[in-house]
């Protein structure tokens, strides 16, 4: 039998080899399942809070003073419609009709009298990605409270819609009141008055309105009796907005328009951020990248080896006489759809280029390996990331104290105009 295998088509032998190889990777299934569950819980919490801006979302509440307030030239308190506010959005995005600032303005326009702060928001991005949200801390004079709006799309008539708008079973969730009804326009609305934790282990109350329109536009409005969700001390007995006020905010037309501005998502919805749709521009060739990389390498370094992927990536192993140092570069044509995620804390240069730097341990387990990275994106979305290591191979032990190039040198290379000519 084994002899006949050699005669099989290459594809069959490849399948057999993949099975043989794959089967040897043994996982701790329970640990992976538990890890997945924990991540799912975290995502749910963030979503419920109308905070989908990433892991930093929850942590940010409470340090709002550090957040930039939008629209400097804006007359305070003016109730602009999001469309009218478009021109004053701080980070205009060519294909996003609503910015995070537009969402904040809309939310503030719908709130009763009071002070707001600690604003945070994200509009629908140019590509499929995280759903839009806005959140802030609102104080009607009786205590600061977190208020947030989250927006998305669901399949009309689906089980998910029923689950979103059906009051939970009291066997599993403790709450004070909950109503569900169908509105005149066919939307389903649930107004829920419950607790941050279903077992009420803290006094934090969480009230929300969930609206799903007949077209599947989904609006969630949340509020707490505390300026932060979770275990922050409560500041008042009840959240500031009454059920009627929650309903008024949830049913405002503006949110439906924002939902309509969310780019189409593939069927596998949440993983749309992982969309495999190819970018319009092709990745530059690895050969072209290697050539540019070599030409930018500072003097005095011996190139020991070099290599490249077919597209997008090249590396050099250099030696300055003190040991080998791996330096690698990735060039991607247009990463604007991941800008917020990649460059949230990046420095913006006068020409608009975003520059994020990091110095940390290597990722492949080599003892003592450090990885220095300069990650840049030009205004046209072209991304150039250069990393240098204090070893010739990341999985091997460190062979020197620091990489052979300084952060300044890496930055100079990454920002070189040469990259814009690589095809």
């Amino acid at each position: 039998m084994p002899e006949s295998r050699a005669q099989e088509p290459f594809e069959d032998r490849l399948s057999a080899a993949l099975r043989d190889t794959g089967d040897r990777f043994d996982a701790d299934r329970a640990a992976l399942a538990a890890g997945g569950l924990a991540r799912g819980h975290r995502t749910r919490l963030r979503r419920r809070a109308g905070v989908l801006g990433g892991a930093a979302g929850i942590a940010l509440i409470g340090v709002g003073g550090a957040l930039l307030l939008p629209g400097g030239g804006d007359s305070a308190g003016a109730r602009q419609t999001p469309a009218a506010a478009l021109t004053s959005s701080t980070v205009p995005s060519p294909s996003a009709a609503y910015s995070g600032d537009d969402l904040l303005r809309a939310l503030k326009g719908l709130l009763p009298e009071g002070a707001v702060g600690q604003e945070e928001a994200q509009g629908p991005g140019p590509g499929p990605g995280l759903p839009p949200y806005a959140r802030l801390v609102f104080d009607d004079g009786k205590g600061a409270a977190a208020v947030g709006v989250g927006l998305g799309r669901v399949e009309p008539g689906s089980r998910e819609v029923r689950e979103l708008t059906t009051c939970p079973d009291r066997t599993f969730v403790a709450y004070d009141a909950c109503t569900t009804r169908r509105l005149a326009d066919g939307s389903l609305l649930m107004v829920f008055q419950g607790y941050e934790y279903p077992d009420r282990r803290v006094d934090t109350k969480w009230w929300s309105a969930e609206l799903v329109t007949a077209r599947g536009q989904h609006v969630t409005v949340n509020e707490w009796n505390s300026p932060a969700e979770k275990d922050a001390p409560i500041t008042r007995d009840r959240p500031p907005l009454s059920p009627a006020e929650l309903e008024k905010i949830a049913t405002a037309d503006v949110w439906r328009r924002v939902v309509d501005a969310i780019p189409g998502e593939p069927e596998a919805g949440e993983e749309a951020g992982a969309s495999a749709t190819p970018s319009r521009m092709p990745e530059p060739s690895g050969e072209g990248i290697a050539e540019a990389f070599l030409s930018l390498m500072p003097e005095g370094l011996d190139v020991v080896t070099k290599g490249a992927q077919e597209t997008g990536y090249a590396y050099l192993v250099v030696d300055d006489g003190k040991g080998r140092s791996l330096v690698q570069v990735n060039v991607q044509p247009d990463m604007r759809d991941s800008r917020d995620e990649l460059y949230g804390d990046a420095e913006r240069r006068p020409d608009g280029t975003l520059v994020a730097t990091s110095q940390g341990p290597g990722e492949k387990g080599g003892a003592g390996v450090v990885m220095w990275t300069v990650d840049t994106m030009r205004t046209d979305g072209r991304r150039v990331v250069i990393s240098a290591f204090n070893t010739g191979a990341q999985h091997q032990e460190a062979t020197r104290q620091a990489p052979a190039l300084t952060m300044e040198q890496l930055e100079e290379m990454a920002l070189s105009p040469r990259w814009t000519r690589v095809r």
């Binding site: 050699a6 099989e8 290459f10 594809e11 032998r13 490849l14 399948s15 057999a16 080899a17 993949l18 099975r19 043989d20 190889t21 794959g22 040897r24 990777f25 043994d26 996982a27 299934r29 329970a30 992976l32 399942a33 890890g35 997945g36 569950l37 924990a38 991540r39 819980h41 975290r42 995502t43 979503r47 689906s158 089980r159 079973d169 599993f172 596998a268 919805g269 993983e271 951020g273 992982a274 969309s275 495999a276 080896t305 290599g307 490249a308 597209t311 997008g312 590396y315 192993v317 791996l326 690698q328 990463m335 991941s338 990649l342 492949k364 990393s387 010739g392 191979a393 990341q394 999985h395």
Partner: protein
């Protein structure tokens, strides 16, 4: 999530975690740490959408789709992910006598662009059709065929001999 559904999810996650992990190990060309990360991210996303996932025709295939997309998005965002194995043979410890082949196969996979690896894993490990693979990757069937034949050509060049030896064992 209500209790019955939570249980249903838990059973599914534990039942599929092993397979997802092996897929992830092949897609990442043996980067077991990254594979663990990708599987947890995938299971987390499935949890959030369990109401939807539990009623699709084939939740296991859906999970694989999510994993593939999580993998490609990771590659794309990370940027520095592509490895050329002559400098990055970051491979797991080889436990037994078949190690040489295993290293060679993973080594060869590591030389492919991430998307080609995804195509190979979907077609020849998951046994997906060209059309199903195209759906997972959101590309045309023609694009899958092109990628697939290119990747097969490279793999044949890299491991033709080794696979013959493997087949002859």
């Amino acid at each position: 999530m209500r209790r019955a559904r939570a249980d249903e999810y838990g059973e599914f996650a534990e039942a599929r975690a092993g397979h997802l992990y092996r897929s992830a190990c092949l897609m990442t060309a043996g980067d077991t740490h990254l594979a663990e990360d990708l599987v947890q991210e995938t299971l987390g996303r499935l949890y959030v959408r369990w109401g939807h996932v539990s009623r699709v025709e084939n939740p296991a295939a859906y999970a694989q789709t999510v994993l593939t997309r999580v993998f490609l998005a990771h590659r794309r965002r990370r940027g520095n992910g592509e490895r050329a194995t002559d400098v990055f043979p970051d491979l797991p410890g080889a436990p037994d006598g078949d190690a040489p082949l295993r290293l060679t196969l993973l080594d060869a996979l590591a030389r492919l662009p991430a998307k080609d690896r995804a195509v190979i894993v979907l077609r020849y490990w998951e046994d997906r059709s060209v059309e199903q693979t195209a759906d997972v990757l959101n590309v045309s069937s023609a694009a899958v065929r092109t990628r697939c034949s290119r990747a097969l050509g490279r793999l044949r060049g890299l491991l033709g001999e080794e696979l013959s030896e493997y087949a002859g064992r």
